[in-house]
């Protein structure tokens, strides 16, 4: 008997015109690892929530069809009843941390499931060990980085020893090494796993079977080898990148000088800067130059100071030492920009940076494929769509130096390709682009690799 059986499930969110899931049918066997792929807004997160019983119980809306998990019919069993049998790790770790300390956070689910108190400490330690986070046990959750929080969230799920583990983009905040370690831990579990990922390379390497969702419909349900053939024929962007080291763009254009900007002058020149947060040094004697016409990728592990350097380049942070020369306007797109939207309408959000010019705003929205959403509320968009909205809100001003911090997070491979192509074209117009990212495959003219307290040119 299958662990999960989904039969003809359709679901529409309350107030939503379009069905988020349409006639989905599938089965999952015990211990099977399944990759769930698809563009952003395609229904992956909704399907994950349907398997956890959160759709329809938590979200409301219109639900038809039937989903059973380990014998529980999700129309009757509440998510709390399914907890323990099913465990879910959501996309944003900050929004799922309940307790103030790591050990208590991992114990939270066990306490809810009425685990014997004498068993709880050992189960907490075992789960933290499985994700290599025993050293975090005594830490306060408020002090952890995004990557550390993601590991704690996975440990909290593992502690329940679930029969079905649902992972909704669980590695979005991790650097490549940490993501690999995370997914290795997932692979060793023995539970059935549904892994929704935008970094398809690792998900495809781990999975025995692949599901592909688009427009709320299940377009593919096949073993990995067959799925790779289907992806190559139909959605090649979802295949692992042919060159994991990333494409190097052809030499960047030489931009003629202007009255205020002599030929050859860089867009930003950072020399020997140092910076510390609360006396904890993050940057020490770091230098970086970005020329007009080039796309530069700033890469390095979690906590190496990429974001700090990017903010210094934009002028959002003042270094404690060193100098910075910037020519023209610099704009910065923060991590998780979908959280930091300030207007009630999508087009007004974008127009904010250009003095309310809605015509330019709509052109920028078309550039990121969101022209259809111009009159919508920004918070009605999916997380991937919000990320693109954030990009439009910054790019609309056509800054001389465009700085993007983890712009590929939550963006599907097709959108990522489009973003890379757009940035290359933007640079060709004489602008400079600096991208801080974990994504080693992101195409660029030049890569700058950061380690703690130093930069190494690659």
């Amino acid at each position: 008997m299958a662990l999960v059986a989904v039969e003809g499930v359709c679901f529409t969110y309350p107030g939503g015109g379009r069905a988020a899931l349409e006639d989905i049918s599938l089965e999952l066997r015990r211990g099977e690892v399944v990759a769930l792929l698809g563009p952003s807004g395609a229904g992956k997160s909704t399907l994950v929530r349907a398997l956890a019983g959160l759709v329809p119980h938590f979200h409301g809306g219109s639900f038809s069809g039937r989903a059973t998990v380990a014998g529980y019919d999700t129309r009757e069993a509440r998510p709390a009843d399914l907890a323990g049998t099913v465990a879910t790790v959501f996309q944003d770790p900050e929004d799922q941390i309940v307790m103030a300390s790591v050990a208590n956070e991992v114990a939270f689910g066990l306490e809810n499931l009425a685990t014997l108190p004498t068993e709880i400490p050992a189960r907490v330690e075992e789960a933290l060990a499985a994700v290599g986070a025993v050293h975090l046990a005594g830490r306060r959750t408020a002090e952890l980085s995004g990557g550390e929080l993601q590991r704690v969230c996975l440990a909290s799920a593992l502690a329940l020893r679930p029969r079905l583990l649902l992972l909704d983009e669980p590695t979005s905040q991790l650097d490549p090494e940490a993501a690999e370690a995370f997914l290795d831990a997932v692979g060793r579990l023995g539970s059935a796993v549904v892994l929704s990922e935008q970094r398809t390379g690792r998900a495809l390497a781990l999975a025995e079977r692949v599901l592909f969702v688009d427009g709320g419909r299940l377009l593919l349900d096949a073993p990995r080898e067959e799925a790779l053939g289907w992806l190559a024929a139909n959605r090649p962007a979802f295949l692992p990148p042919p060159d994991p080291a990333g494409q190097v763009l052809a030499g960047h254009v030489r931009v003629p000088g202007t009255g205020t900007w002599p030929e050859g002058a860089p867009a930003v020149e950072i020399a020997g800067v140092s910076f510390a947060y609360d006396r904890v040094p993050v940057l020490d004697d770091v230098s970086l130059t970005v020329d007009r016409g080039e796309v530069v990728v700033l890469e390095g592990p979690n906590g190496c100071g990429k974001t700090t350097l990017a903010k210094i380049a934009c002028g959002l942070l003042e270094p404690a030492a060193g100098s910075i020369r910037r020519a023209g306007r610099a704009c910065y797109l923060s991590q998780d920009p979908g959280r930091y939207l300030v207007r009630e309408r999508v087009d007004e959000e974008v127009a904010l940076a250009v003095g309310g010019d809605l015509r330019r705003a709509r052109a920028a929205l078309a550039m990121v494929g969101l022209e259809w959403a111009a009159d919508r509320h920004p918070r009605d968009l999916s997380s991937g769509e919000r990320e693109r909205l954030g990009l439009a809100a910054v790019a609309v001003a056509e800054p001389d130096l465009l700085i993007l911090d983890e712009p590929t997070r939550g963006i599907d491979p097709e959108r990522k390709e489009a973003l890379a192509a757009w940035l290359a074209a933007y640079a060709e117009l004489g602008h400079a682009v600096l991208v801080a990212t974990h994504d080693r495959a992101f195409p660029c003219h030049r890569r700058v690799s950061m380690a703690a307290k130093e930069t190494v040119l690659v």
Binding site: R78, A83, T88, L110, P117, S156, D278, Y332, S334, A353
Partner: protein, 234 residues
């Protein structure tokens, strides 16, 4: 904190109560000083907002009090006559009363800051044998303060990152609505995650807690004595 959570919470609450009840400026100043020293132990970034709030509100009371109170005869400064309020003057007694009130307010705020910054709220919650859901809501609300502070800073930075300057109250007011809606969204996401982890199921258990040591018992016993001292002697 070397103390267990519950005795420490009792001591903070008792210090706040004693500061409110004490009559002598020196006693309140000592309580204020002790609480300030405790709060200064917290990490710089976390304590900043609490310190600014506590000290600014206390100072505000010290400054405003002499102008609105009518007390004492030892006039230090006589100002103009203002309609409704009458003659504005400042007396030695008003300054003393204002300082006492300001210190009391700051001490209470610092006691709350010590509770928010230094205690393990999870353990405090686990210690409650009743009204656990309400206590849970209170603990989550306490944790919302630093999250809100972080979100507000990130929101302002995101707007500045688009090349816009945030000058004055009006432009900053633009951030209030997204901050509130962002908090609601976070709250919904958290509620969803909690439900998915079995919150609300019957028969919840608790992870074992370490037993109280001698210091914890002394602290817990001292808390009511501190309140009594506040009423009788301080």
């Amino acid at each position: 904190m070397k103390l267990a959570t519950v005795p420490a919470a009792l001591l903070f609450a008792a210090a706040a109560a004693a500061a409110l009840l004490a009559e002598h400026l020196a006693s309140v100043a000592v309580l204020f000083g002790l609480l300030l020293a405790l709060v200064l132990e917290a990490p710089v970034r976390r304590k900043r907002l609490y310190l600014i709030g506590a000290l600014a509100s206390g100072l505000g009371v010290v400054v405003v009090w002499p102008f609105v109170a009518v007390l004492g005869e030892d006039v230090l400064w006589r100002g103009p006559t203002v309609p409704v309020l009458g003659v504005i003057d400042i007396t030695r007694e008003e300054i003393a009363a204002g300082t006492l009130a300001g210190l009391r307010l700051a001490a209470v705020a610092l006691a709350f800051a010590a509770y928010a910054l230094l205690l393990d709220h999870d353990r405090l919650l686990a210690s409650l044998g009743f009204a656990r859901r309400s206590a849970f809501a209170a603990v989550l609300a306490t944790r919302l303060v630093p999250t809100l502070e972080r979100d507000a800073a990130a929101l302002a930075e995101a707007v500045r990152g688009r090349g816009l300057e945030l000058d004055g109250v009006r432009s900053r007011a633009m951030l209030v609505s997204p901050l509130v809606s962002g908090s609601l969204e976070r709250a919904l996401n958290l509620a969803e995650a909690m439900e998915a982890r079995g919150f609300g199921r019957a028969g919840r258990t608790r992870a074992p807690r370490p037993a109280w040591g001698a210091l914890d018992r002394v602290a817990a016993g001292s808390a009511p004595l501190l309140v009594v001292a506040g009423v009788l002697w301080l």
